[in-house]
């Protein structure tokens, strides 16, 4: 394995240039690894959950964590504050934690994150946890990135009900009702199970307390069983291929957006087609 310092420096290069990143990553041999996406609304306890799970898996495997936070659309800056909730993990030698800003990526998962994941997998990390922003589209995008998605919900975080209604139900492989000691968690659990039943979707649902650790080892077992199934079928390899294709598309779009930062160019293209359509419609009406 290359040194941690090399990993850190390479990740910076990868983040900076999505095209170069692909070159860098291709230098390392392909390898089997798992990507576990952890998503859910702010306040649901994602970071604490990631911290605990990473620590547990690190007993047998090398673990990496990528914690994603949103880049401010106004200033371009970002506040990366998830690491602070992962103190236990940050103390372990075989856990690598990296904070990444979404950098304006639509859906919160920039090309850099995809490349970073592939890189970390290739240099020797067996399980890569990606903790997403948890607002807006990133919940759905994480499906393209992860082999397994944990959707963390907690009573009182606000938009659990919205989530249930907005059809986000398909994205999670495992639904985790966290903070089971709080009022409303039983109700939330019941709501989720009912919604799943109505939709005819079968998913694993489990309730936990990421602060006290209650039931987390069962969650770990559940995750483990999912990952085992993935590696036994050809799903893991297929996921990686799909991920790569999606990454290329994502990169392409991100390059177009950056190159065409001057919206006048895009405006021209749009108005050209808009006018053309008007003309066509106009001639139809005549």
């Amino acid at each position: 394995m290359i040194s941690e310092r090399e990993v850190a420096k390479t990740l910076t290069l990868i983040e900076r240039d999505p095209l170069k990143a692909k070159e860098i990553v291709s230098k390392y041999p392909e390898r089997d690894y798992f990507v576990v996406g952890i998503t859910g609304s702010p306040g649901s306890g994602k970071s604490t959950m990631t911290d605990k799970l990473a620590e547990m898996f690190a007993a047998e495997k090398d673990v990496a964590i990528i914690a994603v936070d949103p880049t401010s659309a106004f200033t371009g800056g970002a506040f990366l504050g998830d690491r602070i909730r992962m103190r236990r993990s940050s103390r372990r030698k075989n856990i690598f934690i990296r904070s990444m800003a979404s950098r304006g990526a639509v859906g919160g998962l920039s090309p850099g994150i995809y490349d970073a994941v592939e890189f970390l997998g290739r240099v020797g990390y067996d399980i890569i946890f990606v903790e997403t922003v948890g607002v807006g589209q990133s919940e759905t995008d994480v499906v393209n990135l992860a082999d397994l998605v944990l959707l963390i919900l907690a009573p009182g975080s606000g938009d659990d009900v919205q989530m249930l209604k907005a059809g986000i139900m398909e994205i999670g492989d495992i639904y985790v009702v966290n903070k089971q000691d709080l009022d409303g968690s039983q109700k939330l659990l019941a709501n989720i199970e009912a919604t799943l039943k109505l939709s005819g979707i079968h998913r694993d649902v489990i309730s936990t307390n990421s602060v006290t650790g209650e039931n987390i080892d069962n969650l770990k077992k559940l995750i483990q069983s999912h990952l085992t199934v993935l590696s036994q079928t050809e799903k893991l390899k297929k996921n990686r291929k799909d991920r790569y294709r999606f990454n290329l598309l994502n990169t392409l779009f991100s390059i177009i957006r950056t190159r065409y930062k001057k919206t006048e160019d895009l405006e021209k293209i749009i108005s050209f087609y808009a006018n053309k359509e008007e003309e066509d419609n106009g001639s139809k009406e005549n």
Binding site: R5, G76, A78, G81, R83, I84, R91, R98
Partner: protein, 130 residues
Amino acid sequence: MENKIKVLVGKPGLDGHDRGAKIVAMALRDAGMEVIYTGLRQSPEEIVKAASQENVDIIGLSILSGAHLKLCERIKKLMKESDIEDIPVFVGGIIPAKDVKKLKEMGINDVFGPGVPLKEIVQKVKEAVK
């Protein structure tokens, strides 16, 4: 393509006064930087490990408890052992003038006392990172 300045802002030691550190973190973010805020009660080991893994461009430490000499000494030593001693380090807080000299001798790049405008800090960070 995307060259963002990455800054680590943290409070080593037991000091719990984080108004300054948080405000500086906000100002740096509003200036377009990516700020890893590591919070209170960081051991020198934790700070150096974070700086290394995150490959930050600059480290910002906030110390108001008077323990700056001991803490900075340990941090610089650990930075050397972790092969990140080329990352510049800024220190902010309550630092008596003669300790400023000692800190600079240790390799601390700049020291900011009370009353320094945020604009100046942002500017100095940008310059240090070039």
